[in-house]
Symmetry: C2
Subunit: 456 residues, 2 copies
């Protein structure tokens, strides 16, 4: 075993990035503009001010600024849990008997248990700076809700979290963590909003979805004075903040004189994937390098692999602007897969555009195969991964096995987004054999596509 | 805010200690020898072989070897989650408005969620090396059980864990984590052993105790071929392995040109405290420096502050050798305090001796005060601490407040042993105001002391 490359590389505080990277600045072909859902005219930045705080609205629309300074206060917060390590998975390589070199960027070493904190702190900071007095959000698996509760506790901002009901029920202790940081938490759909009441009327036993929780959180924000809505994924601003993952990873690999042949990330709304791949995609866009980039999504919610590239609402309640993205339809209700963070009907418009233009690949995997990889990884690398993250692990393991079969020594980098401490219901279901794989039928998907908004 | 000292310092792989430090080698006055419970004669190393694996039995008795090489295989495992960071708690300092400098050594960045993994991997390694075919252990809060399950999965050794019943019930997901790593887990007291059946007969509704779970695990090990017992605290061998905490901390402080005026750790059986203070206590023993060393224990199980320094059994079933230590009596059953890892009737004989000789201090704190500190810490430093660890936080906060009142700029180092992800029942009880403080009466303690074994 080579000793030159350490198992874990942490950048020093001086080496840590001081700027985020905005991928759009290097895209020759931009994602299509967001549209007003009534007029179908492109949204202007002012149109977003009632929902988002102003600085974040500007970041959402900014296609030009390549590097954005990370505010001092946000850097201060980053120092409370970053840098995250770049890990060489020597033991996994050995267990797989593969000539591949496997690296992962591990974002789970913080109380939220995931990369979500990277954007939460930025969003809470800008809201506080603007003088807002409260925030609302939604959370699926609970990692985003925890992250934002941490950030809001730090900046002393009251927060209401709408949590997807099936996750709320599967993860009772997530609720307590969010409450410990002082936030209110409500299972969604709820009777506290018009959007929630409407969904409950149509489907009283639903386990909820991210799209539906988003509708409720937005409604609460626009009906509350001094309140704004924040979102943990999908948005351009989130990908901007999450670029810290990729920037740190690339810098650490440069220190090790390494460069990935393939980069693998799990894909729900795209926050981790977009952040992880950002500087590598830049290399691709600028013709500097040509790594393969692979998104791994759940077969139960196959947005990239079976969705349409079309204009759609970002939420189930159809109150948001329209975004052009891969989508399964804004009223798509995935089966209760345990990777709650990946159960979103749409996908980051930036990633959707890049995928549509052939700059990245995508695969969909059934959850039992994902948990098989999760347990194998835990036993060999000692980290218990989140179900979401385990999608990337499965992708990386399959890639490393292909390397073994082909006798190729590729360098694989994947994103290990978080820990599975709050997902033990899912692990128990896998271990006792009661976990099921459910995949939507072609008919169901077609029905959903028929309800997509019609845009000329 | 000074920028010269980074928020988090990670040693590089080269800087990491390659040897453990054996505190006894520098103690002029040794702890009294373990005694055979029947003959009251000092135990010989061979007497321990039926229970412990040979190398660990030797480490248990070794008062001479100052530095012990960490085996290559154990170092390899350490690289899967170490080094742990030394953190400067800038934000906590600011929130307390204290001139004190607060550092903590954070051991929670691994799936077991605590420092326990440091000894688990060593013990599993030596057992595997000796050709043993299975292990048993007990776990209180569940952190040791998880840690050992991780280590046993890595070395492919079957494991049975007896988990203190009240923790087993408070922490359903701990069980799933331990099972995910492939171990069997049984709530203690159980009907699977004579020791368990006896305790259940005497007290059928008991929530169990560490001492009782130890009895069951030992019984299982001595009645199973090729099986040995391993313990996560109290023992000399455990303090040896845990010295990695203090060695890393001291080295990191040296790099920062810092030295603690006071070192604070939580005290259950002494594994973290003994490891954290080891090299600083060495300085004290050798007259090189004279830092204050403070143990913080729960008022519900006040071993140091209200116990007797006497020979006692290490387990409730009275099957172990006698050790001279601070003890509340081996049949002491603490009230169901939420810091399951601190509910042990005894204390490391090494630490007991040092405390008895006036080389360290101890304080006892009620759990509501501990949780108050835990929530304050979480909101300011973003880490959700384990209830056990929060005892040290409380101690450090109180010390920092004293510094503010006295206008003194002391350097405080405390051990943050782990995370509270599996302790949300406790946090909920604290947040909704149903948490109670229970403290044993003098009469109850006196009754217990009457049952201590009589040794000439």
């Amino acid at each position: 075993m080579s000793k030159k490359i350490p198992h874990r590389l942490y950048l020093t505080e001086e080496q840590m990035p001081k700027q985020w990277y905005n991928l759009r600045a290097d895209m020759k072909d931009q994602p299509d503009p967001m549209l007003n859902p009534s007029t179908h005219l492109p949204v202007k930045v002012e149109d977003l001010y009632p929902v988002f705080c102003e600085e974040l609205a500007k970041q959402e629309m900014d296609e030009v600024t390549r590097y954005v300074d990370i505010p001092e206060e946000v850097q201060e917060f980053y120092h409370l849990y970053r840098p995250s390590p770049l890990v060489r998975a020597y033991n996994l390589e050995k267990a797989l008997d593969t000539p591949a070199k496997i690296y992962y960027k591990y974002e789970g070493n913080n109380t939220s248990g995931s990369h979500k904190l990277n954007s939460a702190v930025a969003q809470a900071y800008y809201a506080k700076k603007q003088g807002l007095t409260s925030l609302t959000t939604e959370t699926g698996a609970g990692q985003w809700g925890t992250a934002l509760a941490e950030a809001c506790a730090y900046f002393k901002l009251p927060l209401t979290v709408y949590m997807v009901k099936c996750s709320y029920e599967q993860k009772p202790f997530r609720k307590s963590v969010i409450q410990t940081f002082g936030a209110d938490i409500i299972p969604s759909p709820s009777t506290t909003t018009n959007a929630g009441r409407k969904i409950l009327e149509y489907n009283p036993n639903t386990g909820g979805s991210l799209g539906c929780a988003i509708s409720e959180a937005i409604e609460k924000s626009v009906t509350t004075e001094g309140c704004r809505y924040v979102l943990g994924s999908v948005l351009n601003q989130v990908l901007l903040h999450q670029s810290i993952i990729g920037l740190e990873a690339k810098q650490a690999m440069e220190i090790l004189d390494e460069y990935p042949d393939v980069i693998i990330g799990c894909a729900g709304g795209g926050s981790n994937l977009g952040g992880l791949i950002a500087p590598f995609m830049q290399d691709k866009l600028l013709g500097i390098a040509n790594p393969r980039i692979v998104a791994v999504e759940p077969a139960s919610c196959p947005t990239f692999t079976r969705g349409r590239y079309a204009y759609d609402f970002c939420d189930t309640g159809k109150v948001t602007p329209l975004a052009r993205m891969y989508t399964l339809g804004s009223d798509f209700m995935p089966s209760p897969d345990h990777a709650g963070g990946l159960r979103y009907h749409g996908m980051s418009p930036i990633l959707s555009k890049l995928y549509h233009d052939g700059l990245m690949e995508a695969i969909a995997i059934e959850q039992t195969k994902v948990f098989e990889a999760a347990v194998f990884f835990a036993k060999n690398e000692t980290i218990l991964p989140a179900p979401e993250s385990a999608h990337a692990i499965r992708g990386a393991i399959d890639e490393a096995i292909k390397c073994r079969e082909a006798g190729e020594s590729k360098t694989i980098l994947f994103g290990l987004t978080g820990t599975g401490y709050f997902d033990m219901t899912a692990y128990s279901a896998y271990l006792d054999g009661t976990m099921k794989d459910t995949v939507p039928s072609d008919e169901d998907l077609l029905e959903g596509f028929k309800r997509l908004p019609v845009v000329d």
